[in-house]
Amino acid sequence: MKRFWGFVIKEFYHILRDSKTMLVLFGMPVMQMFIFGFAISTDLKDVKIAILDPSSDEITRAVESRILSSGYFMLESRLNAESEIEPAFRTGKIKEVVVFEPGFASRLQREGTATVHLIADASDANQANLIASYTTAIINDYVSKASQTSVPMRINVESRMLYNPELKSVFMFVPGTMAMILILICALMTSISIVREKELGTMEVLLVSPLKPIQIIIGKVTPYVVLALIDAAIIIVMSYYVFRLPMQGSLFLLMLETGIYIILSLVLGIFISTNTENQQTAIFISMFAFMLPTILLSGFIFPIANMPKILQWLCAIMPPKYFIIIIKNIMLKGSGIMYVWKETLILISMIVLFIILSIRKFKIRLE
């Protein structure tokens, strides 16, 4: 055990003394989060909307002017009937229709509550979600201010997404970034650090020593497990506080699944390192085998359902795909293990498969 810890401490020295490694470990996640986070959230300006306001009373007009004076929205047209909503979207000019229920003000006075429907064009899922949440925020703001001066009231805001009701890519950037960063750190960094020892010739010395190969491998990956978990925590904290991503499910389950994914990534890194002799090759393989597929084939940016069949099959063997499904379910939907056990099982079987492959490869090398 003492030998093992000496080894782990040595690994930490390697990492902490290399400023480039440190930058990749901690600078990259934060940068990626900002890039992906703000890339989808900065361009909400003068979005064209339509309003359907059958009651057209004092309160609805006050709400409307709030919405239109916010700077985020511009009135494109006023609609007169619900049947006009669909054609209005078809023109492609508007992104949202705000629908007040009939007799809005009188109902609000009588029952203390009334409903606004927000219908958004979700063919651009990220934007639709953003538009709806901005509108909701403006209305809620109005309500809370109005309640201070007059009688308490409640306006229910119900949003509906047209064309893409499940919002397939909304908030994908957090699970996606997390999947990418973790596989990158774990697979890339461990494969590099193992291959570097081969290049330096220190691996031979370690193999000649009484340390068992398994101790060497576990000693190599332990620091990365710790650092990857810290990264995961940074991403979760950032997504919660900076990007207001909801955290519906159990944090414990989320970290557990993250742990499983980290282990899988490390095993992949080990597998790469048993197959390569120099750092360039290791970097190249990691990038091509993990980075690009994680971005392109995991559902991170492009929805898998829209891909050709052959690419969908390819997606099915990408570990990040399952991890993204798992964290999306836990973070956004609050699902428990009952809903993600299948994906979890797939990740675990991948771990087992690659451990077996790595061990076989390692044995061949010894003979």
Binding site: K2, R3, G6, F7, K10, Y13, H14, R17, D18, L200, G201, T202, E204, V205, L206, L207, V208, S209, P210, L211, L366, E367
Partner: protein
């Protein structure tokens, strides 16, 4: 002086597919000896040393290292040997002392022991002042001496040196051999491969390999006498010619 056999090899064969890297090697190395393994690149030296260290499995043959069987007792062998490769194998981003502590640690030495012994070692090497310098900041000659001292830090019964003087200037090589002598005097057997023939003169016994076979084996003096020449260079030349023609 009582001489016990510390490495015993009989009919060692190592094949890679159809290529025979070691073809029926047989030799004995005695305790406290400096045993030189000579040959051109590709003669099979490194393959043999890797098998003796447990880095590679032999295809067939009888091999005992420090009294342990090379097939079934590799764990015990690993505890009884030290190893230094041609790359010196120190971590460049660790300091002198951290390297010593790390290698001491993986051999399971106690922290107290590592501390006192490394003081003594640094003093002997004249490196006390640079103990906290990173390896990448110290000259090659010092790295090599340090790498060797670390290889014998845990007092192994045998130390294997695989072309330890590659890329080192002649003065440093002499100093290095002084260190090897001291080590052999303290009772540690030294098994060294080299292709510098002047280094072969320093060995108690040399074994010359060519194309996977042992072509000559004796003390340097006897070899020179046998071939009627004055230095090992000529011995090697003659031996090589015998094989080729």
């Amino acid at each position: 002086m009582e001489r016990d056999v510390i490495i015993e090899v009989k009919d060692l064969v190592k094949k890679f597919d159809h290529f025979v890297a070691n073809d029926h090697l047989s030799f004995k190395v005695y305790g406290g000896e400096i045993f030189g393994f000579l040959g051109a690149n590709g003669a099979g030296k490194t393959t043999a040393i890797r098998i003796l260290c447990g880095l590679s499995k032999p295809t067939s043959g009888f091999i005992r290292v420090a009294g342990y069987d090379a097939y079934s007792q590799t764990e015990q062998i690993k505890k009884s040997i030290g190893y230094m490769s041609q790359k010196f194998s120190l971590y460049e981003d660790l300091t002198v002392y951290e390297n010593i502590r790390f290698y001491g640690g993986i051999y399971g030495l106690r922290t107290e022991y590592i501390r006192s012994k490394s003081e003594e070692l640094l003093h002997r090497l004249g490196m006390t002042e640079i103990r906290n310098k990173l390896i990448k900041d110290i000259p090659t000659g010092w790295r090599q001496k340090l790498a060797f001292s670390i290889a014998v830090f845990h007092n192994p019964r045998i130390v294997f040196l695989d072309e330890p003087t590659g890329g080192v200037d002649p003065v440093t090589r002499r100093q290095f051999w002084k260190l090897i002598y001291e080590t052999a005097h303290s009772g540690i057997t030294v098994f060294v491969t080299t292709h510098y023939m002047d280094e072969a003169e320093y060995c108690d016994k040399v074994c010359i390999m060519s194309e996977g076979k042992i072509v000559a084996m004796d003390s340097p003096d006897k070899l020179k006498e046998g071939f009627g020449v004055t230095n090992m260079d000529e011995v090697f030349f003659k031996v090589a010619r015998n094989v080729t023609y």
